[in-house]
């Protein structure tokens, strides 16, 4: 398999949009247990807008991801949408002007997103948030260059991250007020990132 380009971004968008339709209730429910129950709404609404406009995304992957980011800043004020947009904009900045990105770059791009999102949300790593999923992905894909190899590593990493953090207390966002209750439960944002990565990596089911 080859590099990531406009065509593969469009394919990924389609898979991701479908995944978010499918996981709408599951994500709302997970967020409902520890937060305000809107994570499915945030993701479906954002991905619907991304998908609607996917025909018009430019070849420049930087501009393409910027357009995706805007779908989230426009449709939602929920934390997750804003964090995703922040991460997408960080990646967009790195790949601006390029129409192709290699699988070998995935690790550093995910790390860039993680760092920008951490700066925005001021959460610590290990705090049982989406940052931990991204950190796991960045770590697991580091040094890997093959598309399949990267996809496998990323989709295993998001599972491992869930397992590693499940028994910790939530420390961030609305879930923090349910800190005790959150032990043994998955962080909704980590759960969403699990589904996102698997859809992007085409490692679902």
């Amino acid at each position: 398999m080859s590099n990531i380009d406009r065509a593969s971004v469009i394919t990924a968008i389609e898979r991701l949009a479908a995944a978010m339709e499918r996981d709408f209730d599951m994500l709302n429910t997970a967020d409902g247990a520890l937060g305000d129950g809107d994570l499915g709404i945030t993701m479906r609404r954002g991905m619907r807008m991304v998908a609607e406009n996917s025909a018009t995304i430019p070849d420049d992957l930087g501009l393409a991801l910027l357009q995706c980011a805007q779908a989230f800043t426009k449709t939602s004020g929920s934390s997750y949408g804003t964090l995703l947009a922040t991460g997408l904009m960080a990646i967009a900045k790195s790949v601006k002007g390029q129409s192709e990105v290699s699988a070998g770059q995935v690790s550093e791009l995910v790390a860039a997103a993680r760092d920008k999102m951490q700066a925005r949300g001021k959460a610590d790593l290990g705090g049982k948030t989406v940052l931990d999923s991204l950190d796991a992905v960045a770590g697991a894909t580091a040094g890997k260059t093959g598309t399949a190899e990267v996809a496998d590593a990323a989709s295993k990493a998001v599972d491992d991250a869930l397992d590693a953090l499940r028994d910790k207390k939530a420390t961030i966002g609305r879930a923090r007020i349910f800190a005790d209750k959150s032990v043994g439960m998955d962080d909704p944002g980590m759960l969403a990132m699990n589904r996102i990565i698997k859809a992007l990596a085409n490692r679902e089911g």
Binding site: G37, G77, S78, T82, A85, M89, I172
Partner: protein, 333 residues
């Protein structure tokens, strides 16, 4: 659900439509998202803009305080949800009269992320922005971590004081300094007796027995410091004053304004019952009360409960507090 509404998804849009229809002399909707409220008449060129934003369901906070001597614009989200970064960016643009814009709002994770993101978005427009966060709820974190505290009714004082400074012609640095001084001068604490219902959720934000109260609960139902049997008005007022005065000790000759605020359903009758004790306590330590505010200034729809906010005044802040302001919910001068 004891609420009067149509489709829960339309709650905020219909509320805003009705609000601007009822008060066209004060408010207009700006932009195409339908969720940015601006003054009916834009302020004079060169006035520092003040923007706020946050979730709906707290009227008069946030939108209600758009008005002369107060805010310029406000981005409003769904009930208890942050507006989007794009809406905030729109609100910042609409607040700009060429002298920069102060973002003045409460310390909630989502709002902070979005206002920061909105700042990135308006960078291209060359609008100079500053930020002051309200973090006045003493029950939400100890003094050592005061910057983690939630922002509650103290923002009403901050809107008023910064708004007056801006109206008086202060530049962005000066208005920001006043807002920060105001934020630092405010301490709040709340107590809740019954929850409210977020329309889209359709069920109360928390459960509580009919004979119980919760001290220190947040305006969205964030857990407080204790839950127990409902106490008397005098006990409640006494404990709340203790908590405020522990956090910001006052001495003879100090001047403060104090807000005794209903979270929604608690009627003014009961606020006045509480105010007796508030006044006694402050006067007993020789503190002078300036322009007490007793009413519904920052609410959570039909939640039952109260909050007290103490705002310590120096000469500058006192003048600004007494300066005129005008919106559909509050008028001074």
């Amino acid at each position: 659900m004891k609420k009067i509404l149509n489709n829960p998804n339309d709650y905020v849009d219909e509320m805003l439509a009705g609000m601007v229809a009822a008060h066209p002399e004060y408010y207009r909707l700006h932009g195409d998202t339908g969720k940015v409220v601006a003054r009916a008449q834009k302020a004079v060129d060169g006035k520092v803009g003040i923007v706020t934003g946050g979730g709906s369901g707290h009227l008069p906070v946030f939108t209600g305080y758009v008005g002369t001597g107060l805010l310029d614009t406000c981005a409003i989200g769904d009930v208890f949800s942050s507006p989007s970064a794009e809406q905030m960016a729109d609100a910042i643009r609409a607040a700009d009269q060429g002298a920069g814009v102060l973002r003045l709002y409460g310390n909630y994770g989502g709002d902070v992320m979005n206002f920061d993101m909105a700042g990135d978005l308006v960078e291209f427009d060359d609008i100079e922005c500053t930020t002051v966060l309200l973090a006045d709820d003493v029950a939400s974190a100890p003094p050592a971590e005061h910057e983690k505290r939630r922002g509650v009714a103290g923002m009403v004082y901050a809107f008023k004081l910064a708004g007056a400074a801006a109206e008086a012609g202060g530049d962005l640095a000066a208005v920001t300094a006043v807002a920060q001084k105001a934020a630092d001068a405010c301490r709040s604490v709340g107590a809740a007796l019954s929850p409210c219902t977020v329309p889209q959720a359709g069920k109360p934000t928390f459960e509580i027995a009919d004979d119980e109260m919760e001290m220190g609960m947040g305006i969205h139902g964030e857990p407080g410091v204790w839950r127990g049997k409902l106490r008397t008005a005098d006990q409640i007022a006494g404990e709340m004053m203790d908590r405020l005065l522990d956090d910001m000790p006052l001495k003879t000759g100090d001047r403060v304004s104090i807000m005794v605020n209903s979270l929604g359903a608690t009627p003014p009758e009961e606020l006045y019952i509480l105010y007796r004790i508030v006044k006694q306590r402050l006067e007993s330590v020789g503190v002078e009360i300036v322009m007490p505010l007793v009413g519904r200034y920052a609410t959570s729809m039909e939640m039952t409960g109260v909050s007290f906010t103490m705002c310590k005044l120096d000469a500058e802040l006192e003048d600004l507090l007494k300066a005129p302001c005008d919106c559909a919910f509050w008028r001074v001068g």
